[in-house]
Point group: C2
Chain length 324, copies 2
């Protein structure tokens, strides 16, 4: 059981990362208004959030710029238009997917960029390519994290092997990513143990990025906090793909470090998140996402089903599990 | 850390109680259609649920029958109209509040009633009255539980004293009740330890009834399962006061005993819960409930605020915390 003295105190090493634009961008193809992004930036500063992720650094060869909002690509000039010289304690991050980012050309030296951290997202079968991206970003002066996605589809032997390769790189933090929202806190505790063990061996921080398919994104995040995980992803109003993520407002309400403030989060949600909901943007816990979570499947079938405004959940259950 | 062998196996002692009518009745003043109640009864049987709580046994002296649906009062003949002789493994429970139930007159002998279990709900300052109700119900042949409400407003010394009194009664199970949805899994673990210690001493089962103000109702329930708690409350679609309860569908998806089935729950939700939502009944996680949860307050202010369709969360924060 966790020590009560630790529950009432705080670890100054904890870092909160706002992934609203990046994971939320998967819901609206990154079409956020500049006002939304500017207010989010200000809210994060006032709330004491440590990192704000603006979106992806996606290859313009692979993705048409006309089909997405600008935060799919996160050009330095677009970030600068929001943050200027970013005269604040808030650091800027972007995500770069293995195989979907022209990192050698599109990521310039940190000294010439408003970006502070590159987060490399990888599946477990792409680790060497991820390491190449980590080393490229590290050479250019960036902080880096490596986010191994969809770990619920592989097992402990694979995780260990992958972690050993990644941890030997120059990466600063390695993320536990529950892409399908299928993991229970009891499993998160075991996974944290493994990541923390290898992180300690190589001097790496550990992070967590959770999804809310089973209403466990916040619970899994604070389970990880109790297990020693320091990098925590959250999004305002849970905004994120499918069932969404750990709610920033819940996390700020939980953390004890006085640098974190809930009130600016309420201001932002009141002005912007309620509007997205009212405008019909679809995200957040619902039965179809629960089913893909329980069945450890990618949420894409549930997202497509929800987009049709259907509520014939038993039929969706058959779609997911087959009738043969 | 919990044993992995226990996580993949199950305890046959676990009992699932459907509190949809009772806690959901607090949302719609118990005005459920007979079709809703009949389908719920059938869904519970098919899903393998162990107990179905029909509502409250409220005093008709204190509450006008014209102002509530019949499940506020749970007359035996109304239950019989749904369940007949209840030729099933599903047991029937009702809740009796200390100070709001004319139990000596309104609760007849179990042999003359369709009810199997009386759940006595009490605040911590009413324990002797609760014990009187427990003994009355026990003498009449019922299973009994004692649900100590709003424990987050008192401390461990009080809990211990209350538990020692209750555990010496003839009660069968004692419930941990997080009425305000303010408790984190780490606190639930500690509370379970205390309840389990005293439960073991007197041979009593322990139960949990959670609220979802911080999206933790399911997480807290499965935390308690891992800690040895056997009586688990849930409601379909989280239907319950304010932020609602632990979702039955999540719980059935989690439990490993093959007697539990998710599919009938999906059928019921598809037919009935989606309709209540579409008709505008208000329940389930939202920012105002989160705030009363974080602040460890009764949800009534949030319920009233939500009823006005307001989203000025910062103003609500001031209402809760004061401006002086």
């Amino acid at each position: 059981m966790k020590e009560i003295s630790k529950l009432l105190d705080y670890r100054p090493e904890i870092r909160v990362l706002d992934a609203t634009l990046r994971d939320g961008g998967l819901v609206n193809n990154f079409f956020f208004t500049d006002e939304f992004v500017r207010d989010l930036y200000r809210a994060n500063i006032k709330a004491g959030v440590d990192y704000m992720e603006f979106g992806y650094k996606a290859s313009t060869e692979m993705f048409k710029e006309s089909e997405f909002g600008k935060w799919k690509f996160c050009k330095d000039e677009d970030i600068r238009a929001i943050v200027g010289d970013n005269d604040s304690d808030l650091k800027i991050s972007v995500m770069a997917d293995v195989g979907r980012c022209d990192y050698k050309n599109d990521i310039v030296n940190r000294s010439d960029s408003p970006i502070d951290m590159i987060r490399i997202a990888t599946y477990i079968h792409q680790i060497p390519a991820a390491v190449d991206m980590i080393e490229d970003a590290n050479r250019k002066g960036y902080e880096t994290t490596c986010n191994i996605m969809a770990i619920s589809t592989s097992g402990e032997q694979d995780w260990r092997a992958a972690l050993e390769i990644i941890a030997r790189s120059s990466v600063d933090a390695i993320y536990i990513v529950d892409s399908y929202g299928s993991l229970y806190p009891e499993q998160i505790a075991r996974i944290c143990n493994l990541y923390m063990e290898i992180g300690a061996k190589y001097g790496k921080e550990i992070g967590i990025h959770a999804h809310n398919n089973q209403q466990l994104a916040f619970a899994n995040t604070i389970e990880a906090v109790g297990d020693g995980v320091n990098y925590l992803d959250a999004t305002y109003g849970c905004l994120g793909r499918g069932a969404g993520n750990c709610a920033m407002e819940l996390l700020l309400g939980f953390l004890k470090n006085p640098k974190y403030n809930l009130y600016p989060a309420l201001q932002f949600i009141e002005k912007h998140i309620t509007k997205l909901k009212a405008d019909g943007l679809l995200w957040g816990y619902d039965v179809p996402y629960m089913l893909t979570g329980i069945l450890n499947q990618h949420p894409r079938t549930a997202i497509s089903y929800m987009g049709e405004n259907r509520t014939d959940y038993t039929e969706f259950f058959h779609i997911l599990t087959g009738r043969d």
